[in-house]
Symmetry: C2
């Protein structure tokens, strides 16, 4: 097989995770090992948008210190984007521009790091480059805290988010124990369609302090059932900790968090989180003091409590993508197979990009309890290995250090 | 001076901090050193309420492992309470009960760990015991994340909350950089009357990624000024990170977070956080995408990112309280004096309890910038030493371990 020498183009897309930059680190380290295939490692600024605008970052112009810090830097060190490419058969404007940039910079290896939509972009570019006979090997690098990519045991980013969520739920739970007559605390967790993140709150119960009730988007949400279940717990314990997904929907598929047409102090329409709505309902209907907590973007950005397992796997998927590309594999996404449960062992494989792009992996019924308000041991057994180990943050002067890349 | 031999009674009161249990640890370690003064160390369950109900925890019945874990356990390991004692001259019912319990258990040393209200309780008990000539030495142990106790340079609990807030703000800030066209993110931070916690978000800027605007309760809040300042930042940077205190008030002293009489999806009155209200205002009035984050109780319970300086100081105030009590000091609170700025050095002194109880320390004008939307270098110099060092969490199987005490 004739070696193809050229440059590697890498980009990040979609919502950041606390370990997506660890995948970039893996890409850089592996690519540097293959100088006979790869001359330059080029990063797109803000994903595909950076390629279209020729807004590029050259790794060889960066300091080693900044590159090492990628393992501890949350967000997207190279910038992300939400950009949907049209079908090139309908509109090839962006594709022609990409082809020009690819040719200009002799891009022969293209790696795109993201979730479902990013894999769709990646797949479309692969199809186009094939159509125009431009030799370029295109591999998708998975990431998403939502853990909703198919064909892979889990996604890089999920383990660290799960570690933050479970440890913070433990803290909230222990904090609640302080008072003899407690409150109902409702914690809103990300995940609009899949409950993986919200389910991770159940790990806190392994530590002895966790949520009493967990509501997932996979199960139609009933406000009456919710109030009944909260009352039962509160009557028993004089407090209740609830984990709820931002994506819970009623039987008609309507998001509980949908804008309810109400106006706030300034007379504006309020969007309102689901947790605060449920807390209000508990206070008003049940007369039980209630409060809400929304983790918001902290749960995907908490670099200070990363899972070392997650960080290492994020690095490995980046490395596997480089190896696949130089071995002339294309139009594929790196996936993780759990080949052994005990001891936990992962193998890195490849799977058709288009299939990865257009399927959303929800929690299987077997991981959700019969009452639809918690998880099963099967889920706990699945998730525990993913939060193991700590990637000790790089504190300096009491605060973390993050990568700063030069243009 | 004749030695007084008896038992020590300790309790926790008010809102927990992530290091109040470290003070309990200090009390236990120091008390054990003085067996010639102290026979038994007894903890009240849920503060003063535990004494009134004779609901007590005996330290000598606990395992050393649980006692060591106090240094890593958030919340109130012995339970807290919000309980205001009446003036004993008006109603001495509770006092007579306390006297009975003190006599029954030969309590000669009484330590109460809390904020302003707890110091008030402590002071009233001291006055009563003096009045009835029951020899007992009563010392207040300070704690509060709000940092609003007077006469002390700062309070145990503040440093760890500041460390969580500043590091999380850095993460949110870096996360925001991901997108070319960002949002206005508004983060709500605790502190109803004093801005110390919200101001701590400014530490994130020392790390290079922090809030653009900071609104404190010390400065009357104008929605128009807020919108103008947010617009200016957004026009320049295409994103804006705002830290806002839950306690901001308008010129008439009305909380912006006050219930606005609006109803939610369930038809109930909504209490609504200030951040979500301001985010709605930014979206509606300025047409800029905006979102809100509420740290809620996570900021006072985040044991996974404690400041080692804070933990050690929390232990020391506990120890200092024991030493004061056995030296027949009473009706006093332990305070911390910063005797040297560089190197940072604290001395532990004592101050009149009643004075500590009835004053609330707000941020001085000299620590707030001229525009009233940020802090000065004086504040940064003040706060940085308080977040130094990490008290590495005790992870087991990927999650923290917290104390479990037996009744």
């Amino acid at each position: 097989m004739a070696k193809l020498k050229g440059n590697l183009l890498y980009g990040q897309s979609g919502g950041p995770t606390s370990v997506i930059n660890a995948s970039a680190y893996g890409v850089i380290q592996e690519a540097r090992k293959h100088k006979d295939f790869i001359d330059e490692i080029i990063m797109m600024k803000h994903g595909i948008r950076g390629a279209l605008n020729e807004d590029l970052i050259f790794v060889n112009e960066q300091s080693e210190e900044e590159i090492e810090l990628l393992k501890h830097t949350p967000g997207s060190a190279f910038g992300s984007v939400r950009f949907k490419l049209p079908d090139f058969r309908e509109d090839d404007t962006n594709y022609l521009r990409l082809l020009y940039i690819f040719r200009k910079h002799n891009i022969r290896y293209f790696l795109y790091n993201g979730g479902n939509d990013s894999m769709d972009t990646c797949s479309k570019i692969a199809a186009y480059m094939k159509q125009v006979n431009y030799e370029c090997y295109i591999i998708g690098v998975p990431k998403t805290i939502d853990n909703d990519l198919p064909f892979t045991d889990h996604t890089p980013g999920y383990g660290s988010a799960a570690k933050f969520i479970s440890n913070t739920m433990m803290e909230i739970s222990y904090d609640m124990l302080a008072y003899p007559n407690g409150k109902v605390t409702i914690v809103e967790i990300m995940g609009r369609h899949a409950g993986w993140l919200t389910a991770a709150s159940a790990i806190a119960n392994v530590g002895g302090f966790g949520p009493d009730l967990i509501y997932l988007p996979e199960i139609p949400f009933s406000i009456d059932k919710f109030k009944k279940e909260v009352s039962e717990v509160y009557d028993l314990k004089k407090q209740c900790l609830v984990a709820v997904s931002e994506g819970i929907q009623n039987a008609d598929g309507i998001f509980i968090s949908s804008s309810s047409g109400l106006r706030d102090a300034f007379g504006h329409f309020q969007l309102g989180g689901v947790a605060s709505k449920l807390a209000t309902s508990v206070s008003s209907d049940l007369g039980i003091p209630s409060r809400s907590v929304e983790f918001g973007s902290t749960q995907r950005a908490a670099s200070h409590i990363q899972s070392l397992t997650d960080v290492n796997e994020a690095i490995e998927v980046g490395k596997a993508a480089v190896r696949a590309a130089i071995n002339k594999k294309t139009d594929l996404m790196v996936i993780m197979n759990r080949v052994s449960k005990d001891p936990y062992k992962i193998e890195y494989k490849l799977h058709d990009l288009l299939l990865c792009a257009n399927t959303e992996k929800k929690m299987p019924k077997s991981m959700i309890n019969a009452k639809g308000n918690g998880v099963t041991q099967e889920f706990i057994d699945y998730v525990m290995p993913l939060i193991q180990g700590e990637n000790t943050p790089q504190f300096s002067n009491g605060i973390q250090q993050f990568s700063k890349f030069r243009k």
